[in-house]
């Protein structure tokens, strides 16, 4: 898929790798919520969330905090 169109940076969650440790929420509580079972809820309530400039720092913190590398930012 060689899509040349410029899309905003996107936070991507791999739900199979995610163990629900919640460290992304601790690192970026305003960006990532936890559901009633302790699993991360992105602002989109899906597996991908486009990021505004203001959210970039929080998204990077959350990504770095994940011990199982379930989060990454697609640029």
């Amino acid at each position: 898929m060689s899509d040349k169109k410029k899309t905003p940076p996107t936070l991507v969650l791999n739900p199979i790798m995610c163990d629900g440790r919640g460290m992304c929420h601790d690192a970026a509580p305003d960006l990532i919520d936890l559901d009633e079972w302790g699993y991360p809820l992105l602002p989109s309530h899906g597996l991908r969330a486009e990021l505004s400039r203001a959210q970039m720092k929080a998204a990077e913190d959350a990504t770095h905090a994940c011990p199982v590398l379930a989060l990454h930012i697609e640029r």
Partner: protein, 447 residues
């Protein structure tokens, strides 16, 4: 459609009785050579498939020519030295839907049409390995082994087709789980790669439902224009439908797409009692009320417009002697147990949802429980590595909507069918015993 000597219409797929190889060839003729793939160009059959407008019959109804091309491109992108460049084709005969039997009927009666389809698909995409997958312990195994032996003796398939039997679990028939099994012996869904990108052992993999492959074998013989001479323009051809529940003769029928629900029902002897609603597509499909649905045409777009999902082409009639909330409770509990347990919202969300539905079925739920349930139903969607939780959510939420008055009755401690409940198990959605089969490589049946 062909007309038999006695004037009765018979279908294209030969599901009426079992055919041996000579009988099969007497009806359909020899399988022609369809031409092979060259580099980025699939075999010429792909153009006929596009002209035919064939769409996948496993549930997604995705255009088959696009899938064939995607596998070829993914393979061609790898370069000549890549060890993973040769495609794999897998015929999906798993039929994980407990209420569905169309693929089993097809494989039992017309195995050679499906196997023909595997061979022409393999040739068209340049596959070097071909598999057909049915559930472990499936009753279809001896018949398929016999059919494969017949073809071996006749030397029909340039590429040997191997029979594989992944564990009998609902999620193991999902296409990425199936290619995961063939490659690594683990029958769990994969995220985010799709099989055409990185499938079995990292190779581009074509996973096609067995009915789709049978149609492909017909297109190889008679062409795309012939294929599209019946059915709707959006989804041409014929389709198998599993009809069950409150009809006189449940079973599998083959009809042109666009046939109305009423006509399909009449082919199965008509309603056996008052119909309250239908489950469409499968256990990850959608409930609709009976009002007006009999006039809906059976094709993906019309069924969707009518509030349902054509999915794996299941049409299940819910009679008035069966409590819809009971049905939702039993099925959602079973579906929760069928999770692969890989993603949190599925692993924890589905049992919570099943518990809420069970409380409602037992008439022990209150308004607040329903609000929590509604929240949970939206919490599990779009958050899994596969669409299993989304399917359960749709099954429950469409059911709550279609049978809203029954939900209200249950919230006040009543049930409209409690006094005249049917004891006929054929009227209730089948729920297999909880399955213990592991999803990992124990019992892998090939190397």
């Amino acid at each position: 459609m062909k007309v038999r000597d006695d004037g009765a219409m018979t279908g294209r797929l030969g599901i009426e009785k079992r055919s041996t190889l000579p009988e099969h060839e007497a009806v359909y003729g020899r399988l022609p050579d369809v031409g092979k793939r060259h580099g980025r160009n699939p075999g010429v059959l792909v153009d006929e498939v596009e002209k035919a407008g064939l769409r996948g019959r496993g549930g997604g109804w995705f255009p088959t020519h696009l899938k064939l091309r995607a596998v070829v491109n993914s393979s061609a992108d790898r370069g000549r030295l890549a060890r993973t460049r040769h495609p794999v084709v897998i015929a999906n005969g798993m039929e994980g839907e407990p209420a569905s039997s169309k693929d089993a009927v097809l494989l039992a009666h017309s195995p050679h049409l499906v196997l023909d389809g595997i061979t022409v698909a393999a040739r068209t995409i340049g596959a070097t390995d071909a598999f057909i997958a049915v559930h472990r312990d499936s009753r279809l195994v001896p018949g398929l082994e016999a059919a494969l032996a017949e073809r071996d003796a006749a030397g029909i398939d340039p590429l040997t087709i191997r029979l594989v039997m992944p564990p009998a679990r609902y999620v193991s028939s999902e296409e990425s789980a199936l290619s995961h099994w063939v490659g690594d012996g683990v029958a769990t869904p994969v995220f985010p790669d799709r099989p055409f990108q990185r499938g079995a052992a990292g190779r581009p993999t074509l996973v096609q439902n067995v009915e789709t492959l049978a149609h492909l074998a017909l297109i190889a013989r008679y062409g795309g224009a012939w294929f599209a001479s019946t059915g709707t323009s959006n989804a041409p051809g014929t389709t198998l439908v599993t009809v069950g529940g409150a009809v006189h003769q449940s079973g599998v029928v083959e009809v042109p797409t666009g046939t109305t629900v009423d006509e399909i029902q009449r082919l199965c002897g008509g309603p056996a009692e008052g119909i309250r609603g239908y489950l469409t597509g499968g256990y990850g499909g959608g409930w609709v009320t009976a009002d007006g649905f009999a006039d809906v045409a059976w094709d993906p777009e019309s069924v969707r417009a009518g509030g349902g999902v054509i999915g794996a082409s299941l049409l299940w009639a819910l009679g008035e002697s069966v409590c819809p909330i009971d049905e939702m409770s039993r099925v959602s509990a079973w579906m929760a147990g069928e999770s692969a347990g890989q993603c949190g919202p599925c692993m924890f969300g589905l049992p919570s949802i099943a518990e809420d539905v069970r409380a409602l079925a037992l008439r022990q739920a209150y308004g607040g429980d329903m609000r929590r349930l509604a929240n949970r139903l939206s919490l599990v969607t779009n958050r899994g590595g596969c669409k299993h939780p989304d399917g359960v959510s749709r099954f429950v939420s469409t059911g709550l909507q279609a049978f809203a008055s029954e939900v209200d009755a249950h919230l006040t401690g009543a049930c409209s069918v409690a006094s005249q409940r049917s004891t006929d198990p054929a009227r209730q959605l089948p729920v297999p015993p909880a399955r213990l089969a592991l999803l990992d490589s124990s019992g892998r049946d090939f190397t």
